[in-house]
Every structure is written in structure tokens, then in C-alpha cells.
Homo-oligomer: 247 residues x 6
């Protein structure tokens, strides 16, 4: 059960660093809003996303250990609690056990919002398989007859991360999330990934680009004052927004 | 200039009754939130959507008068101010004058939100032509060099009405707006349309159907308590949402 | 082997009630046309679609029994013969045995038409998995080299049910089937589902809505006489229509 | 009013030869079914589809005359009555007069079925503009308030021709029409187009290709007996099929 | 006629600066390959893309003059010859005269390749209208019967610029053009646009981002040596590639 | 390791004859360019694509032997080396062993280009499953941490075969490959398939059709000289082209 009555937001990451590049801003923002942020890393990305460590001669266990440690540091900076499932990567192959683990996790923590990867990605099968898997686990967690000691899940909205090459993944930008107030922490979290230094600047530039587009879409970039949004993250919604306002 | 500092929401309706069936709930809701709601009727729907009046032997001017009167009654019930452009329908053919009229309207009233028809509709060319036209007028109103005595428009989001046969129009449901609190007034506004009595129940059923789906998408229909959303309207977004929350 | 030379139409339903809500009209109509209608229920929907029974404290076996009994009653009203595979739901996981069972069923009964779920459904993985599975079984049944005591299947057209939220499932309405003559029986069949009373009216309204659209698309609603189509069901085709008329 | 009570099918062709290559089989087939077939040629294709005549030194009027004569011969072979609007091509620019002409034509002849070009064609703007124009004229003809001495049009289905490069035009094959019984006449009609001899074999091969696919989709090619469909034409539907059978 | 036998590549730009941001690299590259590069600016972007000049109190003629001068400087740096049509912007409204002007331009210069804007852009109607217009002019220029003193155009491929918000424009990345060797000149050309300084860095970052993706898609970023592609521009193809290699 | 330093192109074929009909021209062309062409047949198509052999009373082993022999003859004519995985068909079910086999094959031979089936095919599940599988194997072969004695794969482009009914498979024609120079050999290779004689002419006609379209898209069919492209094969790209030219 989630402690101290705070609401929960859950981020499911195929590999141990994805949550940092793709949702680090959202995590820090929801931490600041008082949410408990849970990050579920299905694998460490030990085979597919640790090229430099392999080239440096590390073995599988050492690589997992490095990746775990870096992810924990980054999560701490962002204000998230990270849980590792160590299910293997390249290929990531969701088992019945992993499925039940995620369903029980959703049942126990009752996330208000779920974040995960994009629906398509011709460059990364682990990513799209994770998305497909998470969407199914969410549905199973909603079923009254699914065996569990916890109550059923409601219908939390699901937001999808921006993939590396969005146009090739048919990614649609439904939300431009203003992460200006927390960007400094996202940058620090990214810098925990020692083996992927070339990506620090890449994702900083991406945040600026999405920030500029946020200004364009909210009107502030057009006004004289200049936009106050400097950094943003893009997300795609899976289900319609429901509520009493046009947003 | 809009009076008394209230924010404005503007609804552009190809024919004089569209705004009632398709956005009557949104209008009443935003009226209740303190917005000035402006409805712009490009035509009266005198040729294409007044079959019963023609069959009853009315002539063109009489039909326009009936349609104007009905729309005004409905708008009053919903809390909107309606402006008629009388640009003709079937086919509706936006002229340079009409375009400038809409641009100046947007400049003067600075709507925070714009509502109009769907992007596609193989059953109704006036509808999709209106959408295309409104999107362009919004862009022109944003241009510093467009001649006007009023300042430029920001970047108000645009929401699209649900068309009559949504699947044939590639309509996407991005927002399910809870109109339960104002549905009674929407029903009364619909009942102003004397010649289209068969549509009163049709759009009441549609609101219930969207209301049930709203429950499904927000989790409340699944919980024991039962959904509190009874009626909803569906809308599609044109531009991404920008802000500090995942919505 | 199918008895007494009548042609067969086969409906594959992921859970035991789907065939009623989604194709009850088509079933009764083809029964009246002299077809043998076979309904294949892959599961009872015991975990995912029996919330009220779980809340009432029933156990798994009791729930399956209730669901089986209700489905049999409904099938009898509609004029169909129902076969249960009891393959489990939430998640439904097609096994090699289930696959061979369906292939042999298709080989033995040689359906002229196959009906099943939609290609996509982000709310229901069992549904889309069933569709994918049925389409593959149909192909296997066409293969000369697939081991069986029955002859190969021809190329029966496949029609897809309308899902609960058609726009979210990219459902295309290719056919509006006039079920006016059999709607009363569909309503009675729906009323066999005691635990889902809220859906009786929902699917009655949907049938009216599709009926009104059928009128619009066939011209009768526009003519003075008024449409004679009151109720319809929507289906999507998977393969092109082949024949000597433009239909 | 159409003479002698026969039903009408109307084919709208951007240029004077399109109807032969793309719908010659359908025309002959419906002629044989007792329909009056009306072909409306918006232009002669004098500028864009008469390259050889220009190269042979013919002038504009001569080319129009040749094209008219060839189209009339072909129409006679197919059993159609052809009407020329001479509206110009490359670019074809529908005027208000042409629009009214087509609307009145539809009102007077009350076609049961309308055939025209594809929705998209990046190789031929006249074609897609014709489609767009025809769809609008059909809607105008349905409107009670559109001025005319003839009664309103119902809701005839619209079928779209196969374009030259279907994949580039997002053309969907919804119907494979068996034209085996009339193919010989289609071939003769094609041979009236003296300047486009290279297309005779091209469209014969296409008819065979679509015929073979028709066999695949109807099961006959898979059975031992062999398909009886040798030639077919492909069409896309614009509106759903409405009726009492799953077709 | 194009001088000195060099091949021609033609870039059609809705406003006078578009060609710099969106195709400056391609222009410099083809200049270096010995092509004559022709830039056709349909308007100066005087109303819609000169906000700072309006705010500084310039009038329409002054703004056009500034924009012309900047474009000419940029074109000279890139090695292109620029031709201005001064057709007005916001809205850009292609006339019959402009259409004939572009057709004759294509006939006279026989471009081997044509570049222009994207097919869709909900933020910029001038852009998508230009694309639609250019595609039609290319088709008209191919028609034997279109009046001209120059011979017909062949079938030059068309490449589309990357729009400002590619995901909202359904832009597909078909080509990542390596512009590393000419990027310095593109940067200098961008710096000619004094009023749009904020875009210099924006488009430099974009070129880096596309360059990194080019590495990912060609394998070099994955190899130890590191990619030699630092900067790239993205383009979408309209027509298939034809040739003797799989590219 | 590939012998004698020649570059490699690898074709993955679900069944033993697919590579001939769908890529025989590309294979012969790349052979002539000096490439080593490797064909990987995952199955013999023994169950699903050998109808005539089954009807002639052959057993499973005999059929596999015939299919192997025919494929070897065809491969020799085309200049390819064929490797059989005998993984079974209808359904083809990629195992972990098969996956590792393909990954090691890619690692060892380092193909510069990979060819395989289309992304979708509602008529042939083995085909689309093969494509999905090949795309994943390519990604795994790129991962530094995937266990192998061979070095990692770069990022070879992937080209997809034209499926039997391209419009039903959402197949996009990105490349029209001129196979005129090698068509005679493709025809001979097709004629090795004794049991599928009806397909020889079918695929010859298809090559002519694609050849004519190649002329249309390269301009040569419009010029007086006449196209020199007589035969072509169509392919779809999966990843963007990267390079220094607009192709």
C-alpha cells in the first residue's frame, strides 16, 4: 500500500535509463506536486543500451550493477522510488510472472497516472513491447476477477514518452509539459549516466525545442513578453481526457 | 472589445443550429464559469438544413427568419451571444469579406478557446469547409502584419465538434466533457428547434452514450459508487495541450 | 459436419456475452434466412466481464456456470448453437490446442461468413487478440497441407463487430445491417444477461443510432416516407467484396 | 426525368476517356442489367491526355473533336449515353455553372449509383478535384432548399475508380466487380482510343490481375474447380453499405 | 533556357526566408555539385513572418524591401539565384497568373529536382497551399497541350521541407541529407535574417539532431569510429524513387 | 565470415519460393553488381504454399524435398546462395533458436542491405510475422551485449517485398527498381517452380506494370523516346535514406 496517503504516479521503463531521458521532467514535477513517484525498470538495459560498458570489458553482472546504481542516483535526484524487475533485455520478453508482478504493483499502489513508452518503434522492440505489456497489465488490474489481495484499479490515464525518432514511430504530441521549473534537476539526473555523455546535450536541446514549441502552442512565444516556458517534454495520450473543462 | 473583462470563448457554427446539437453543453458550462460565449453563425442553414420548412411552403426569407429566431432563443437559454453572418449555405462559400469579418472578430474579442466543426465530413461539405476556414482565420489573426485596429491573437486551442457520423469523418475523441450539470438547459435549447424534433432524442441519447464512455475512461463507472457523469460531449483537439500537468 | 445441408455462419466471441451485444441481430437474421449459426465462445468472460458476480461472492466455477447458462439461453432465443472452449480470459491466451480446435471447426463446418471482434481495442486485449487469432485460423484452414480429416476452407468474408468505443479502436463502418425485423429477439437475448442490466438500454440506443444512420446512408431518412430501418448493427469488412454488383 | 422507367447509374469522368479504362466493365454490366447508364465527361482531356494528337500537329478544336468522337464510339459499345460539359482540363476548374449543371443532372435522372475518380491522386489533380466536386454536387442535390424543378436526390452510394497508381493514391479495394461476361466489349471500347494503344494491353492485364485477386477473395481460386472470374474491376466505397445482408 | 548546360534544381518557398531554414543545406550542396539552383519566393512573408519589423514601425513596402534584401544575401551565400513573385502572404492566394508563371518557369528551366513545403501544416496555411500549388504546376508543365513556347517537363522528383512542428504535420522523414560539408554556409545564410535571431540557434540544433539521427540510420553512430555526419536536413519524398539500386 | 571481401545483401524469405516472385530481380541485379547474395528460407512453404503437391499425394518430406530442390535451382539461376532453416510453416512460429540463428547469420555476414516481407498482410500471417521477426533480429544484432563471436551489425537499410495484394497490406511503393537487364533470368527462376505455373505470367505482368509506372515516375514514359525501363520490382523502405544526395 502506498504510504502516507499521497497519490501515486507510476513510470514503467523498459531499460534502467529510459525514465530519465524521456520523463525526468515529469517525474520531478509530480514529486514537487506531492505525488509518490514509482519507477518500474523492467530491465537494466544491460545488453542493448550499455555499449560503452561492454567495450570497457565489463561482464554482465558488473554492467547490471553499474546501471542499477546510476538509475538509483538519478531517481533520487528526481524524487522517485525505483523498483527493478531484472527481466532481461534485447529481447525483453514479458513472462506470466512479470505480468502478475506489474498487475499486483498497479493494484497495490493505485497510480493516478501511468507513463510508459510509445506504441511503435522500429528501432527498439523492447520499448514497444513494454508499452503493449503495460497497457494490458492496466486492463488486467481493472478486472474484478483477477486474483489479488488488493482492490481493482480505476482507469488512470496513460501518457507515452517521446521516442528517439518520433516521426518514424508515428508519435503524436498531445501534451507539451512545461518542465522549466525542474529542468536543472533533470539535467543532473541525466549526468548520472556516465556512459552516455553524448545524450546529455541531445536531450537538453530536445527539451529546449519542445519548450519553444510549447510557447508557439500557448501563444506566449508570439506575445512581446516572450515565453516563460524554456523547457518541455512531449507526451502522447492513449485515452481521452475526461473532465469539466476543455483541456 | 469584450465587455467587463470576462474571458471569451468563441463557437463558429456553419449553420444556425449546429452549435446547439454539437456544443450546447460546452456553451452552457463556460457561461456558468463566467466566460462570455460568442456564437458565430456563418449561415442560417436555410437551404440544406431546413427541409421541413421548405416542405411547409415557406420561402427563403421566411426560413431565414425562423432559423434566426430559433437560434437566438437557444443561445439565450445556453447563455451565449449569437452573431449571424448570413453568408449562404449549400454551398457555404467563404469570401474575402467573410474571412476578414472573422479575423476582426477574433482580434477584437480575443477568444481563449475556439470551437468549430470536424476536419472531415463526407456528408457535409459546409462543415469541413467551415473548419478549414476558421483555422486559417485564426492564423491570420495571429499575424502582426494583418491590417486591423485590434492587437494580434494569441494561440487559443481549437476544439472540434463531434460530427453526425464520427467514424466516417475520422473524428478522434480527445476530450469527453462532463455536461451533466447543464444538460437540462441543453435539452431545452434543442427543443427550440421545432422543425427537428427527431433530433432531440437522438442527441440526448448521444450525450448519455458519451457520458457512459466518460465514466469508463475516468474509472468511475468501474467503481462501486457508480459514475456521477451522466451526460458528456466529445471533442477533438487540433493543437497539443500546453501546461504544467499531465492532462 | 453441418447437418441438413444448410449453409453455416460462424461467430467467434472472446467472452460468452459478446456475441449478444455485438452481433445478436446478425445472428437472428441469418437464422431466419435458413443458415445454421454457430457461436464459438473462447471463454466465459469469467474474470474480466463478470464484476457483479464477483461482488456477489460467487466463485470461479459458479461464475462460469452462470455465464454459460445465460449464453445458452440467449443463443437459443437468437437461433444459434453455442460451443464453449473455456480457454480462460483476462488474459485470453490462445494455445496451439485452441488454434487447432478452431481450425478443425472451420474445416468441418465450412462457414460462408465469419464474424468476430475488431482489429484494435485499447480497452480490451482479449478482443483484439481473438480477432488476430481468428484471422490466422481462417488462413490455416485454407492450407492444403494443414493436417485434418476435413477438406480445406474457401475464402469466407470476415465481418468485425462494433467495439464499445469505436473511434478509439479505429473501427470503420463498412456495413449497416438492418436488424429491425429481429430486434425484439435481440432485446430478449440481451435481457438474459442479468448482471449487465445497464447494457440493455445502452445497446438498444446504439441499435437505434445505427438505424438512423442506415436511413441517412440509404436515402430513406431523407425522403418524405420516413425510413423503415429502425435498428441496425455496424460491421467492418476485412476483405473486399467480390461479385457481380456494386454493393 | 429518365425515360421508360429504367433505373439510372451515373459515371462522372474528368476527361473523355477515363470512364472506359476505369469503369468500362461496370458500365457494360449495368447496361446488361437494364440500367440506363449516363456518362458525364467534364472535359475532353484535350490538353492533358492527348499527347499524341498534339505531337501530330492537331489544334485544340480538332483534338476535342477526335476525343469526343472516340468517347461516343466507346460509349455506344458499352451501352452508355455520354454527355459532354466541355469545362476544360489541366487544370479542370469547376465553376458555379458546372456545379449547377451536375446538380440538376443528378436531380433529373436520380441515379441509383454514382461512379467517379479517387479521393487522392498526386499525379492527376483533375481527377481528385472531380471526385471532390461530385461528392459536393451529390450533397447539394439532396438539399430540399436547393433551387430546382426536380425533386431531391436520395442517398445513392458512390464508388470510386481505381487510379493509375493505386498505392500512391491511398486507394482501398472495397469491391472487386466481376466483369468477365462483358470484358470483350470493354476491350473493344478501349480500342476506340486510337492514340492510346499502349493502354489497351495495360488495362487488359490489370483486369486479369484484379480477376485473379477476385478469385482469391471469393475462395474459387483456391478450390479445385478453378475460378470462373477471369476479369474484374476494383472500386472503393465512400459510404457504408446498408441492407439486410452481410455483403 | 538555363545557361551553360548545367542541370537545375528548383526550390519553391512560400515566404522569402523559408528556403534558408528548411533547405539551405540542400541548396549549398547542389550548388557545389555544379547545379544551377533556382529559388522561387512566392511572397516576402511581409505580413505573416515579419513581426519584429512591424513592431519596429516599418511599413509594408519597407518590410518587403528588407525581406528581399535579406533573401538575396542569403541566396548569394548559398549559391542560389532567387526570383520573387510578390504574390502576397497571409493569406497566400495563388492566382491563374501565378500558376502560369510557375508552369512557364518549370518549362523553361527543366528542373531535375523540385523542393517545396510539407503537405500539411495546421500552423501555416501558406505553406501547405504552396505545396499543393507546386504539385499541380509540375503536372501542368508535363502536359503536352499546356500552351508554352518551351518543351514539356519530365517527371522530376519532389522533396518536401521539414515543417516547424513535424509531428503535427504528419511529416515523414524519407531522406536525411548530410549537409556537414556546407553547414557553415547555411549558418551564415541564416544570420542574414536579422529579425529572426532566435531561429539561428534553433535551426542549428535541429541540424545537429537530424545529423545524429542520420548516424543512427546509417550505422556510423553505432560503430566505434563515430559518425562523420554532424549536420543533416530531413526531407519527405512525394513520388517513388526510380533507378537501378536499392536506395 | 563472408568470403573474398565482397559485400553482402541478405534476403529473408518466409517460404522457399517467396524470394523468387518478390525479389528475384533485385537478387540478380545485386549479383551482377558483385554482391554476395544470401537467401534465408525460414520454411519450405510445405504446408501453406504447396497445394498442388499435396493434391498429387506427396507426403510432407517429399514436398519439402521438392521445394528445396526448386528453390536451389532458382537461386542458382539468380546467383544467390540459399540457406534453409526448416522452421515449419502455417503457422511459422519463430523460436528462440531460430532468432539466435538469424542474429548470428547477420553478425557473421554483415549484410549491407536486408530484404524481407511486408509489415502487414491479412492473407498471410507467416509473411508479416517474418518481417516483424527480421526487424527484431536486426536490432539484436546491433546490440553490443548480445552474445556472439562476431562483431555487431551496423544499420543496414531494410527493403520490403511487394505483397500479393498491396492495397490490402498498406504497402507503400518507395522504390521502383529497374530489373530490365536481369528480367530474363528472373523469368527462368520462376519457371523452376513447376507447381505454380499460373504465377509465372502473373509476376511477369506485374513486372511490366511496375516497369511502366517506373517510366511514369522518372519522366521517360512521357518523353518521345519511350522508356527504357520495361520491368521493375517495387519495394518499401523501413528507415530513412541517409546520404549526400536527394534520392
Amino acid at each position: 500500500m502506498s504510504n502516507n496517503n499521497s497519490k501515486t504516479i507510476t513510470v514503467v521503463s523498459a531499460h534502467s535509463a529510459d525514465f530519465i531521458w524521456r520523463a525526468g521532467g515529469a517525474i520531478a514535477l509530480y514529486h514537487d506536486l506531492g505525488y509518490q513517484v514509482r519507477v518500474l525498470c523492467l530491465s537494466f538495459g544491460e545488453r542493448g543500451e550499455s555499449a560503452r560498458l561492454w567495450k570497457n570489458g565489463k561482464n554482465l553482472d558488473e554492467i547490471k550493477q553499474v546501471r542499477r546504481s546510476e538509475a538509483e542516483q538519478a531517481a533520487e535526484i528526481l524524487g522517485a522510488k525505483v523498483r527493478f524487475f531484472d527481466a532481461g533485455d534485447y529481447p525483453l520478453q514479458p513472462t506470466a510472472e512479470l505480468r502478475d508482478g506489474i498487475v499486483q504493483e498497479f493494484r497495490e499502489h493505485q497510480p493516478e497516472i501511468i507513463l510508459t513508452h510509445s506504441l511503435e518503434d522500429p528501432y527498439n522492440y523492447d520499448h514497444k513491447r513494454t508499452t503493449d505489456f503495460v497497457l494490458e497489465c492496466r486492463i488486467l488490474a481493472q478486472a474484478e476477477g483477477y486474483p489479488s489481495q488488493h482492490g481493482i484499479l480505476g482507469a488512470p490515464p496513460v501518457f507515452l514518452f517521446e521516442p528517439h525518432q518520433p516521426e518514424q514511430c508515428n508519435f503524436k504530441v498531445d501534451v507539451l509539459l512545461d518542465i522549466t521549473s525542474v529542468f536543472e534537476r533533470k539535467r543532473k539526473a541525466m549526468e548520472c549516466m556516465n556512459a552516455q555523455e553524448h545524450l546529455w546535450e541531445y536531450y537538453t536541446e530536445l527539451a529546449r525545442r519542445r519548450g519553444m514549441q510549447a510557447g508557439r502552442n500557448s501563444g506566449s512565444a508570439i506575445n512581446i513578453s516572450g515565453s516563460t516556458i524554456k523547457y518541455a517534454e512531449a507526451f502522447q495520450r492513449v485515452y481521452p481526457y475526461v473532465g469539466g473543462l476543455l483541456v
